[in-house]
Each structure stands twice: as structure tokens, then as C-alpha cells.
């Protein structure tokens, strides 16, 4: 027996430090589909439910930002419909709890005594709602009955949200209001992030039945039961609920004459995309009714955003009922909403919608319930080019405002500039802050250029939440159209690479023109739907090409074990014709973290890389920062590589939804010794030939019976013989003879897995451990 073979046998029988507990299958990654309620009030401690799949063994909860603490209370398997006996038992418990509140004699107890044997045999399945019924009010009991015994015909089977975890959340009184991200760590890994809102107002949870009246006077608990009168909700408040199939939810609140009430729904903003529904989100609609049940206001969107906002001047002091439903009456546990109601600050107009980096800029704002008329913009040169802020009023903060920070000089549009004769003269390069201030308005700008000059014209409006649906036209002095653009979309098949991730109507215009001769040119900007108004702001860039790029890293939640590597996708959004090479690196990463395969070749729009962790890294989450740098005209430019998730909408379309953090979670359960590739530089292979790739480790026993497979390799590249060596492991990469990918440069990702046979089964299962450090490959 050769020494290598002997060594290999030793590996396979040796006790591995890689335990099955951390064996991760690629398809069983923990996933959250919803949080309910999806937020809470500052200074409060409360429970929320996270629904998802593969959530076994939850250990910790992580919430981004400061001041929010959360822990796992309990996890639940998928809640099945109760069978006959369970249903009987559940109703008996409801009867007992409701009788206690109503002061009725304990007749259920009598039955219990008579039928103690059968009683013992009925154990209700664990269910997040069937807990501590004795402490509930009658309305809460009616709600629990309604949700638990919902007709099965109404509910579809949705395994992806069938498991649940009860989480206790505490929000510090001084926690910053706004959107956070919540992730849960399990034995298998870290879940995707979900939006969690921190608010300042009272939180209210819906109580069914509330379809026709906010507070019906009776409901079925065990039998039809009279319910005590309920007081209307005191504003301001945040109303929370879940829309089930065919469901309508109503809430009652009190308002006084003259109040300017803003009612803002958060539904799509909580769960941006549903993969298995059309349209691909909960499309909320809201209506407001007065005391005579007359509809006084309605909204099913706000401008182009699916989440509706109602603005209502209270004409008469009294009680009002608010209704919310899905516009086509779908529903599911993940149709979660939060509705902010009250005299809340709401910014409807902001101008300018951005500023030059490093400048001292305050934007003017207008809207409802605002005491501020200006809003200072943070223009710190380092940071993202698109930022968010809110107007801080005395007790509340406003809705989120999106603005841009750019490096070019800026100018402001000055009316009237509606005709070529009155066109506003500008000097390139510049960004013009303007508004299509009335329906049918056209803003015209003129500049001079030479034959062959390349001029970029880009509108940044919809991406900054402006309702403008821009149309750009370039003309010459004779009025002849040289170029026209309505919408500009960056997509790869069905993957939309819009940087906001949330815009589905890509209404901003963008074009590049090569000037045919020396002279004056006119840029015409209008709204393609002939709308306009003070809120129709824009930033129009007219400049020579400004080669640039943005980077998105998916997924935003990564999991590995100490010592192993994990793979990420880096998407490049190239701008103004930039085709150059980009070098991606980790920024301020903990010692021992290493990014491999960070070079994105020229012209390439996507690369896979790996992030390796040190073997002695303790378990827990690590927030990562990544950045990319490139050389543009002898200048080095550095851009952040932001975390994002590749999310599907309506069975087909995909979007890169940005996340606040890029998190890597070191799981418990084992370690893998570091594996380092022998040699440097890319592995070069000719068609029809092969190459040997070696990895070295200081702990040969530690890599034991691992197996390898290529993960999405270039077509025609296959894995050959895998051989243990005295220093580690080596394998053969083969290239097919008729390989068409000549000249291809790509990182090769190699999965590490092991196989095991569960006790009593013949089937072999595969457990994924991680990946080898990325291997750059060149096809010669």
C-alpha cells in the first residue's frame, strides 16, 4: 500500500473535528419570510413571531444598529390543522378561559374530571398562539380562535413560512427610530435579514374578527359571546396586522376637528418581494370611514410606491374607522402590515434632491405636520452616493427621504427655460437640480461642444423617490432630434440590477451622445406622462463620461465554520462605459479573514469570490465591509461593496435588494484547518488538457474525509481525480477539447462536503461544509 493511500485511509477513519451538527446542506439554509409584528415602540419589551423555514435550533437574534436587543423564546414546528380531538380540547380551553372572565361556573372542569383519561391523551401541538390562554381578554380569545381554526380551505400550504420562532425584543427608550434588520442564528446558519421598524408611538395589534367592524359587539369564542365595549385607539399609534385570504382588517380611532391625519401603510416596504405571488408583494389598499360608515378617503398607493398613504383633514370630531385589505383579496401570514396613524410629520417635497460631496447643503422641505422648512443633508465625502435622512420634529421623525451625494459641481434650474430661445445655459460637467413644476413643463438646457465629444445625460429622480417619469431629448440648433431616451434599465435576463433594488418602473432616463459637429446643443427634459408639480424634482447630470462603478455583494447573510471559507457573488454595475478591472478587498476585517479571487476582470459584470475565516475565530456574527478599487484615467477610485440579497418577484423577475449590513456568522460545531493553495496566480488550462491544483494545510488529519465538487463551473471544466497528499489535498481540473470559452477568466468555486448514511437508512446524505478559497482560472 502506498504511503499516500495509507494516509488517505487514516483520514477516512480518523475522528474528524468536523461534526455533523454543523453540516449544512445548500438547500436547507434557514430563511425568514416574515416578522409579526414587524416592529415595536421604543422603551418597550414585547414578543414577535418570525415565520420561515429550516429554523430548527435557533440560538441568537441579531438586530442592526444600536439599542435593540432580542432573544429567542421558543421555536415551533409547522402548525398543522388541529384534528378532531385537538380541536375539541382547544375549544374546551377557550371555553374555560372565557367562562373564567365571564364569571361562569367551571363546567369544563366537571367534564375534565369525568373524562380524565381521554383528556390526558390529547396534547395540543405547540402553537405560538395557543399559550397562556387564561391571561387573555375575550377579544384576544376570539382572535386566537379565529386564527387557529381558520378554515383550511382558506389557507394554502406554504412550507416556506410554516415554522416559527417566538422572539422577545427590548427597545431602549433612546433607540434611533427607523428601519433595522433582524437576523436569527440557528444551528445551521444565519437567516436572511428582515425589516424591523423602531417607532415612537403606541403599538396596536389587530384582533379578529374585525372584517366589518373594528370592534364587533359579539364573537364566537366557544359559543357566541358578548364582548365588552372597546375604546377607540388614541393617536398617534402604529397598527399591526396580518392579512389572510379574503381578509379585511378594521381599526377605530378618535380624531378631533382640524387635525391633519397622515395614515401611512408599510407593507411592501416590510417584505419587498414575494417570489410566489403576482403581483410580487402585498398590495395594500386602505379606506377611511366616518361615524356614518361613509367612505371619506381611499388610497391604494402613494405616487408610484405600492404602499398607500392617506392624508385627511378631520372635518368633525368623532370616531373614524380605517380599513386595510389586499387589493385582490389574497392573503397569507407574510402579508404583514404596519400603519402609522396620527398627526405625523410627512415630507412630500424636498429640494434639491442631493448635493455635492463636502458641501454645506440644507434642502427645503414641504409636507404635512412639519415644523421644519429645511433639512440639512449629510454630504460627508466618504459613504454611499445615495443616502437617507428624516426630518426630526418635536416628538416624531418624518418619513424617510432619499437623496444623492455626487462629486460634480451643481447648479439649479431657473425658470423660465421652456423653449430653446429661453434655454438655460450650462457648463459641463454639471448636475442640475430642477423640477418639472407643472404638467406639460419642459426644462431646456443648452451647452456647447465639439464634433466627436461624448456627452452623458442622466436623470436621477425616480431612484430618489420623485414621481417624475422623465423623458430626455437632445437636439441641435435646428431643433433636429439627435437622441431620445425615456427609460433606462440595467438588467441581465430577468435580473434587474437597479441599485435601489425596489424600483420596478425604471423611469429615469440615461443616454450617451457623440456630438456630430461643433456647436450648441439643447437637452430637453420633461415628464413622459405630462404630469408635473413641486414634488417632481430631478437631478440631471450633463457631463463627459464619468467612468464609475457600484458593487453589490450577495447574499447579505453568510455562514461558515471557523477555518472554512464561504462564497459570495459580487455584481458590478458599470457606469458611463467603464470596462476596467476592479480589485475587491475586505475593509477593516478581523485578523485572519481573507478574501480570495477579488480581481474582477475587465468587462466582467459578476464574479464569485470567497471569504476565508481563521480556524481560531470564535462563534458569532461579524459585520463585514468590502470595497472595490479601480484605476480610471490614472486615478484610483474606491467604491463600497454593499450587501444585498438576490430576491425573486412574481416567479420570474429578480432584484438585488440592498441590506444595511453584510454579516458573516461563524457557526458552532467544528473547525476546519486553513487550506491554502500552493502557488499563486491563475490556473491556466488549455482545451483538451488538465491542470493539477494543490491545497496545503498544517493539519492533514483535520481535513479527513472531505469530498469536493465544482460549484457552477464554466462549461467544459470538470473535476478529475482527487488525491490526498502528505501536505494536504490535490485535484485535477480538466478542460474539454472543444471548449468554447477560450480566453475566459473566472474564479472557480469548489464545494467541500462530506457524505454520511443516517442510522437505519440506505440512502447517503450529503452535507456541505464550505468552500475552498476561490481559484482563478484562465482558459488559454
Amino acid at each position: 500500500m502506498s504511503p499516500y493511500r495509507k494516509a488517505f485511509l487514516v483520514f477516512t477513519v480518523s475522528a474528524l473535528c468536523i461534526g455533523s451538527a454543523w453540516a449544512q446542506t445548500k438547500t436547507n439554509e434557514p430563511h425568514i419570510g416574515y416578522l409579526y409584528p414587524a416592529g415595536g415602540q421604543r422603551g418597550q419589551t414585547f414578543q414577535i413571531t418570525a415565520g420561515g423555514q429550516f429554523l430548527r435550533g435557533p440560538t441568537e437574534v441579531y438586530v442592526s444598529g444600536e439599542g435593540v436587543h432580542a432573544k429567542v423564546v421558543k421555536s415551533f414546528k409547522p402548525a398543522k390543522n388541529l384534528n378532531g380531538e385537538e380541536r375539541k380540547e382547544f375549544l374546551s380551553m377557550l371555553e374555560e378561559a372565557s367562562d373564567k372572565i365571564l364569571g361562569k361556573p367551571a363546567k369544563v372542569q366537571k367534564n375534565k374530571d369525568n373524562d380524565a383519561k381521554s383528556k390526558e391523551q390529547v396534547k395540543l401541538p405547540a402553537h405560538p398562539l395557543i399559550q397562556d390562554l387564561q391571561s387573555k381578554s375575550l377579544r384576544e380569545l376570539a382572535h386566537i380562535r379565529s386564527m387557529v381554526l381558520m378554515r383550511s380551505s382558506k389557507l394554502q400550504s406554504n412550507r416556506q413560512i410554516a415554522e416559527s420562532i417566538l422572539v422577545e425584543v427590548t427597545i431602549d427608550p433612546n433607540a434611533e427610530p427607523g428601519s433595522r434588520e433582524l437576523r436569527i442564528a440557528t444551528n445551521v446558519g444565519l437567516t436572511n435579514p428582515m425589516v424591523f421598524e423602531v417607532g415612537s408611538s403606541l403599538e396596536v395589534l389587530e384582533l379578529e374578527p374585525n372584517n366589518r367592524q373594528a370592534y364587533p359587539t359579539s364573537a364566537v369564542i366557544f359559543v357566541k359571546t358578548e364582548l365588552p365595549e372597546a375604546k377607540p385607539i388614541k393617536l398617534p399609534a402604529v397598527l399591526n396586522g396580518q392579512i389572510m385570504p379574503g381578509d379585511i382588517d378594521r381599526f377605530r380611532f378618535h380624531a378631533s376637528k382640524g387635525q391633519k391625519i397622515v395614515i401611512q401603510a408599510h407593507a411592501r416596504s416590510l417584505v419587498p418581494y414575494l417570489a410566489d405571488a403576482v403581483p410580487g408583494w402585498f398590495q395594500a389598499a386602505m379606506a377611511l370611514y366616518d361615524e356614518n360608515d361613509k367612505e371619506v378617503a381611499f388610497a391604494d398607493d402613494y405616487r408610484f410606491n405600492p404602499d398607500p398613504v392617506l392624508f385627511f383633514n378631520i372635518p368633525k370630531t368623532g370616531e373614524y374607522e380605517l380599513e386595510i385589505w389586499d387589493s385582490i383579496y389574497r392573503g397569507r401570514q407574510d402579508f404583514v402590515y404596519r400603519i402609522s396613524v396620527g398627526e405625523l410629520p410627512f415630507v412630500k417635497q424636498v429640494f434639491p434632491m442631493g448635493a455635492k460631496a463636502g458641501s454645506d447643503t440644507a434642502a427645503s422641505i414641504q409636507g404635512w405636520n412639519l415644523s421644519n422648512t429645511t433639512l440639512p443633508l449629510d454630504t460627508t465625502p466618504t459613504g454611499q452616493s445615495v443616502r437617507e435622512t428624516r426630518s426630526r420634529e418635536s416628538k416624531q421623525v418624518s418619513n424617510s427621504i432619499t437623496y444623492a451625494v455626487d462629486t460634480l459641481d451643481e447648479t439649479t434650474e431657473s425658470e423660465s427655460n421652456d423653449t430653446a430661445l429661453m434655454a438655460q445655459k450650462i457648463t459641463m460637467p454639471t448636475i442640475i437640480n430642477g423640477r418639472i413644476d407643472k404638467p406639460g413643463d419642459t426644462d431646456i438646457f443648452k451647452f456647447t461642444g465639439n464634433a466627436g465629444d461624448k456627452v452623458m445625460m442622466e436623470v436621477n429622480a425616480r431612484r430618489l423617490n420623485s414621481p417624475l417619469d422623465s423623458m430626455l431629448r437632445l437636439t441641435d440648433t435646428m431643433g433636429e432630434t439627435i437622441m431620445l431616451n425615456d427609460d433606462y434599465v440595467v438588467k441581465e435576463s430577468y435580473l434587474y440590477k437597479d441599485t435601489t433594488g425596489l424600483v420596478t418602473h425604471h423611469a429615469d432616463s440615461y443616454m450617451i451622445a457623440e456630438l456630430p459637429k461643433k456647436g450648441t446643443y439643447y437637452v430637453h427634459l420633461t415628464d413622459s406622462q405630462h404630469h408635473g408639480g413641486q414634488s417632481y424634482g430631478y437631478r440631471l447630470r450633463i457631463s463627459p463620461p464619468q467612468a464609475d462603478f457600484a458593487l453589490r455583494v450577495t447574499p447579505s447573510s453568510l455562514t461558515t465554520i471557523a477555518g472554512a471559507a464561504t462564497a459570495v457573488n459580487v455584481y458590478v454595475l458599470r457606469k458611463d462605459g467603464f470596462e476596467g478591472e476592479i480589485e475587491v478587498t475586505l475593509k477593516n476585517a478581523p485578523r485572519g479573514f481573507k478574501l480570495e479571487g477579488g480581481r474582477i476582470p475587465a468587462g466582467c459584470d459578476r464574479a464569485r469570490m470567497t471569504i476565508a475565516t481563521p480556524p481560531k475565530m470564535p462563534n458569532g456574527p461579524v459585520a463585514l465591509s468590502m470595497q472595490g478599487q479601480a484605476i480610471v484615467k490614472d486615478q484610483k477610485i474606491i467604491r463600497p461593496a454593499s450587501g444585498a440579497d438576490d430576491v425573486m418577484q412574481a416567479f420570474l423577475y429578480r432584484h438585488l435588494v440592498p441590506s444595511q449590513q453584510l454579516m458573516l456568522y461563524i457557526r458552532k460545531g467544528g473547525r476546519l484547518p486553513s487550506l491554502k493553495r500552493a502557488g499563486s496566480g491563475p490556473v491556466r488550462i488549455k482545451p483538451g488538457e488538465s491542470a493539477i491544483v494543490s491545497f496545503k494545510t498544517s493539519d492533514r488529519n483535520g481535513v479527513g474525509n472531505i469530498k469536493l465538487q465544482l460549484d457552477d463551473p464554466p462549461k467544459g471544466i470538470t473535476l478529475g481525480k482527487i488525491t490526498p497528499t502528505q501536505t494536504g489535498i490535490e485535484f485535477e481540473l480538466k478542460a474539454e477539447k472543444d471548449l468554447s470559452a477560450k480566453g475566459l477568466k473566472k474564479n472557480l468555486i469548489v464545494d467541500i462536503y462530506r457524505e454520511f448514511t443516517p442510522k437505519g437508512k440506505n440512502k447517503t446524505n450529503r452535507s456541505y461544509i464550505g468552500v475552498l478559497p476561490a481559484i482563478p482560472v484562465e482558459i488559454l
Partner: protein, 430 residues
């Protein structure tokens, strides 16, 4: 013919050759001979999985073939199909499988339009094959059948306008109802809960109330209305009604097709083509299997297998297969790689890059495979067949020149089918 006449004719022909589109010239001078008189289109609504029907890939592994990893041999050596189609395996000599269908579109609406019209979406909305056949082989060309020339069993598409720019006159007649129920409630022919006696008494009452019609005997307009009414009542009480009455078939025959909506729709389609209806579409729902794919396949494939095999055997046995094209397929295939991850948990996505279709009869030779997909069914490896190639083949077999002009509201010079930029019609099986 004098020398002068011969020269004149020669000159005219030469001028004609010089100015005419060669394809049109071909159409006018050499009309195509029709081999097929009718088409039965089995529209697999939602897009059937190519891997789980006629292009199995057991070698691709569990992530691609799932539990269907044991394809079965057919009665044609070398052709294997999914293990869930044993009855169709015995009929393989009657049909050909196109394993290299492609158009690259993954959205239902656009893909349905592509596959049913053969055209790329554009400013003109083209008619579906059925509507075009209805135009070219329907009432304007001597069709005198008792029912409309383009029948849909049982629900219309809804994904796009079948008639396109040809207008409502060429829309299909959708039967509604369920042929597996007795009676088969056919829209406008058999009314639910209304007896014949009651229907006739309604007509009599209507006539009694028709004071204007009585006051204007001999009016051309009223005569036309009366004629329409007579036609409608012929449908309701005449032979047409018998045509839709499946109880006239033996129980054994009905059982052969399967006692379910699809099975009885296939039987109904056979009855319709027997009567000379040129185009029948069976809209077979339930193939958009994003979730629970294999559970649904376990239920649906046996139903499809039984009905389609019975249809082929029945048409073949009666000799009708020689003049009837059976065209099986959907708007696309399904993702070859199974989506095990949430929310799909074992589903298949839309896949327009590579999928399969099946054709039989009417001039299509059976027992063949056209084209080839790669090991995983993800890409076409040989002989890409686009919808326009498939549809042009069907038109050709029906004696309709794919390059015939098609009247349209904008008066543009458009042809029934665009000239193929790819492999062209399926000559290898025609």
C-alpha cells in the same frame, strides 16, 4: 400560340419574376398540397417540464430528474420517455419528439404569444395558429361544418388575444363546461337546468312578443336575424348538439380516454375532427408547477398519458391520424434544475431556453426525435427549433403557404409567418 403571343407571355412572366417576391410567386404558381385537414392542439397551459415528459435526463442526477430517474423505452428503439408515460411509450411510432424547442422567453404571456403565433411581440398583434387556420380553412374557404372552425375545449386562453388583428370573427368558440360531466354544458348549445321543452317555449314566447318583426314582414334585416336565430337553434337542437353529446360514445371508449376533463376533451376533439373541424385546441391547465411539482406530476402525468395515448390510438385506428395533426406542447418548459429551496421546496421554474414539443399525424412522421438538448436539458445542442419553424411546418402540412399575405387593419404587407432565421420547417419528419 403565335410567336408574337409566346414572346408577350414570356415577357410578362419575366417582368413578373423580376418584380415579384419569389416566395409569393411560388405560392401562386405551385399551391401546396394539404396533407392535414385538421389540427388537435394539446396546449399544456403553464408550461410542462420537458425533463419529466419527453426529454428525461436520469444521468443529470437527482437535482435535475428528481424521482423520475428511470425513463422507459418506447416501441421505437432508442427513444426513451418519462417513466410516468407507459401508454404513450407504446405509441411512440406515431409521434415525433422535438427536443430542441427554444425561444428564450420565461414570461407566460410573451411565451404563449410566441408559441401560439410564431411571431415576436411587436406593434401588430398576430393571430394564433387556430385563428389563422380558421381564416385560411374556415368559412371563407368553403368550410360548411355545423360548428365553428376553431373550437377551444373548454376555456379560452386569456394569456393573449387568440384572434389578434383578424378580429372577433376569428376568435375560437370556447365550449365552457366540462365534457366529463353529463350533460356537457356547452356555451350557447346546451344550457344548464333548462329543458328542451322550456327552451322551445321560450322561443315561442319570444316570437309572440316580436310585434315589430310581425309588423314588418319581408324586411331584409329581420330576415337576417331570423336566419341567425335558425342557425343558433340548429346548434341547440340539431346535429351539432349530438356532436357534443359524449353519451353517444360507448362506455369502453370513454373509459379508454379516462373519465376526467382532459380525457373526455381528447375524445371530444376526436369527434370534432371527424366532422371536419379544422382546428381544435384543448387548453389543458395545471402545468405551472412552481411548488409541489412532483406531487402534481404524479397526479397529472397518468391522466395525460392515458388520454393522449388513447387519442393517438383512436385516430390511428380510424385512419384519421393521416389527416390530423396532433400538436402537444406549452409556452415553455420548466427549469431543469429542481428548486429545492424555499419557497419552492421542490418546484420547477419557467424555462424558455430549451423545451420540447410533440407532433403526430397529418403528414408528420412518427418514431423520430428532432434536435437534442444537453446533458441537463438546459440548452439546445442540436437543431434549434423556434416556434415559427414549428408553426410553419403545421401550415405547410395544411396546405397553407407560410408566406401567404395576411390582411391586417394597418394594411401592411405582412405574411402569416416570418421567414425563419433558423433551421426552418421540420422537413426531417414531414
Amino acid at each position: 400560340m403565335t410567336r408574337r403571343e409566346a414572346l408577350k407571355k414570356g415577357l410578362v412572366t419575366a417582368v413578373g419574376l423580376a418584380i415579384a417576391d419569389p416566395r409569393c410567386l411560388y405560392a401562386k404558381t405551385a399551391p401546396l398540397k394539404a396533407k392535414a385537414k385538421s389540427v388537435i392542439q394539446i396546449w399544456m397551459w403553464g408550461g410542462p417540464s420537458h425533463l419529466d415528459t419527453f426529454d428525461p435526463k436520469p444521468e443529470a442526477g437527482n437535482d435535475y430528474c428528481g424521482p423520475y430517474n428511470k425513463p422507459i423505452e418506447t416501441n421505437v428503439k432508442g427513444i426513451r420517455i418519462c417513466q410516468m408515460l407507459p401508454l404513450l411509450a407504446k405509441q411512440a411510432d406515431k409521434y415525433s419528439i422535438i427536443r430542441s424547442m427554444t425561444h428564450g422567453v420565461n414570461a407566460h404571456e410573451t411565451a404563449s404569444y410566441r408559441v401560439q403565433t410564431g411571431h415576436e411581440p411587436g406593434r401588430l398583434v398576430y393571430p394564433s395558429v387556430g385563428a389563422a387556420v380558421s381564416k385560411m380553412r374556415g368559412y371563407e374557404h368553403g368550410y360548411k361544418g355545423m360548428v365553428p372552425p376553431y373550437i377551444v375545449l373548454t376555456q379560452p386562453q386569456g394569456r393573449f388575444s387568440e384572434a389578434g388583428f383578424l378580429g372577433p370573427r376569428f376568435k375560437p368558440f370556447s365550449t365552457g363546461g366540462d365534457p366529463n360531466k353529463t350533460p356537457f354544458i356547452v356555451e350557447g348549445v346546451v344550457a344548464k337546468g333548462i329543458s328542451d321543452k322550456r327552451q322551445r317555449s321560450r322561443r315561442e314566447l319570444l316570437h309572440k312578443l316580436d310585434s315589430l318583426g310581425k309588423a314588418m314582414p319581408g324586411s331584409e334585416q329581420f330576415d337576417k336575424l331570423d336566419k341567425c336565430e335558425d342557425n343558433a337553434y340548429d346548434l341547440m337542437f340539431g346535429d351539432a348538439r349530438k356532436l357534443f353529446d359524449l353519451s353517444q360514445e360507448t362506455d369502453k371508449m370513454r373509459d379508454n380516454y379516462g373519465r376526467n376533463t382532459f380525457g373526455q376533451s381528447c375524445l371530444m376533439a376526436r369527434r370534432l375532427v371527424e366532422q371536419g373541424v379544422p382546428y381544435v385546441t384543448i387548453n389543458y391547465k395545471g402545468w405551472d408547477t412552481h411548488k409541489q411539482h412532483f406531487q402534481i406530476m404524479n397526479r397529472q402525468l397518468p391522466e395525460m398519458d392515458k388520454a393522449m395515448a388513447a387519442l393517438l390510438a383512436d385516430l390511428s385506428g380510424s385512419g384519421l391520424l393521416d389527416s390530423t395533426i396532433v400538436w402537444w406542447g406549452g409556452e415553455f418548459g420548466r427549469g431543469p434544475k429542481i428548486q429545492w429551496n424555499p419557497p419552492w421546496n421542490g418546484g420547477r421554474s419557467h424555462y424558455g431556453k430549451c423545451f420540447c414539443s410533440v407532433v403526430a399525424g397529418g403528414g408528420f412522421r412518427g418514431g423520430n426525435v428532432v434536435g437534442k438538448s444537453n446533458k441537463y436539458g438546459t440548452e439546445v445542442e442540436q437543431r434549434a427549433v423556434y416556434p415559427e419553424d414549428m408553426i410553419a411546418s403545421i401550415y405547410t402540412l395544411m396546405g397553407i403557404d407560410p408566406q401567404s399575405p395576411l390582411p391586417n387593419p394597418r394594411g401592411l404587407d405582412v405574411k402569416i409567418m416570418p421567414v425563419s432565421k433558423h433551421g426552418g420547417i421540420l422537413k426531417e419528419i414531414m
